[in-house]
């Protein structure tokens, strides 16, 4: 898993520890083990593993997490650029999927 790190210092995840209630939800939902508990609060330990899926922010009832959510997909970025819209996964209907 360690050799599957993408680019450094680019993830848009932001964490406001003062709001954290220690409910552990972020740890439960993160597919890349970005968080862990430090005492009674969560802490970000692997920011560079974050793929910006948005699961943590959506499930943080305390609003301690924000992330610019999106798909890490080059063809979605190209399609979005051509259509002048936000990059989205083209999967759907009969399309091949991500």
């Amino acid at each position: 898993m360690n050799n599957q790190l993408y680019l450094r210092n680019v993830a848009s995840l932001e964490y406001d520890a003062s709001r954290c209630t220690g409910c552990r939800m972020c740890i439960e939902v993160c597919p890349h083990n970005v968080f862990r508990m430090a005492g009674r609060k969560a802490e970000v330990v692997r920011l560079d593993s974050c793929m910006e899926c948005g699961a943590c922010a959506l499930n943080c009832i305390a609003g301690a997490l924000t992330v610019k959510r999106g798909v890490g997909c080059a063809s979605a970025v190209i399609t979005g650029y051509l259509k002048k819209s936000e990059p989205t996964c083209s999967c759907g209907g009969d399309d091949k999927c991500c």
Partner: protein, 337 residues
Amino acid sequence: MDYSGLSIIRPPGVDSIWSLRDYLGALRVKSSIGRGRYRVNPGLYRLGQPDKDSEVIITSNYKLSFDLVRKSLDGMNTWILVLETYGINVWCAAGKGTFGTDEVIRQVKESRLSQYVSHRRLILPQLGASGVSAHGVKEATGFSVKFGPVRADDIKEYISSGYSKNDVTRSVQFNLMDRFILTPVEIVNSIRYLLAIIIFFFLLSGIYAGGYSVSLIWKEGIRAGLYLLAAYLSGAFLGPLLLPYLPFRQFGGKGMVAGFVVFGLIGIMSLRSMPYLALAGWFLLSGGVSSFLTMNFTGASTYTSLSGVRREMRVFVPVQILLVLTGLSLVVIAKFV
């Protein structure tokens, strides 16, 4: 469970055994054929003989997802609640929002789930979490959401261990086999572009210092076609497969290296039969094409972020354009010197 005297119907039953048709269907959609049409009807299902205390497992209506879930629950009695995700798997549907808070709420209400079970607990696949807000579902339905493991195979253990996960069942893997299975998708996705480009190079091959020759199209064109096919496979197959072993963190960089290495090997074998200038041109072309294709594999990978992809594209799209244009120029110039 006794349904007599209840205002609810008996939901359709399924079992955990796959029929031959299920296996063939899985094989078919894994080869990217008719994937979007491979669906089950949304709603509540019975697996085995569930009762008021049985777990409720939620999944998407992509039939392969549904089949994997019921197969993994072999020997258990559970409810399966299927969301309408239009035939898309859980993770992609969560990203699009169809596997989302609103759809969970809608299915819980429409299926009258609260009359089938006495507890108030839903088990969702963890990868659904990017679309479903647990507190949102709780507020609207009274059901608390438990995000289970990433893979269906771990659901049983998750339940028997009292809903606990570890770092492994919680994380997304992307091993050699996963990548190998996904490469055909990429290869099929861009094959029509490859064919168009090969035709372009066939026509280009006819050009020589003295004019245009049809016999050259065959002689040179077939070679050009093979070189392109090599660059294509290097970018769409080798690059993704060797992802962790290639230098660079950027997928575009990894693909470029793969393309250079592949044509480097071909080039050494062609040193006597081709002008150096043309070889240099093909070397650059191969790196550019391969870089672009591996960059497109970011969408199939499980660990790239949008911010990261944007940053890598700002560097590698210009690099790819430069490589292809320079390479193409050298190949053409080589015909005249």
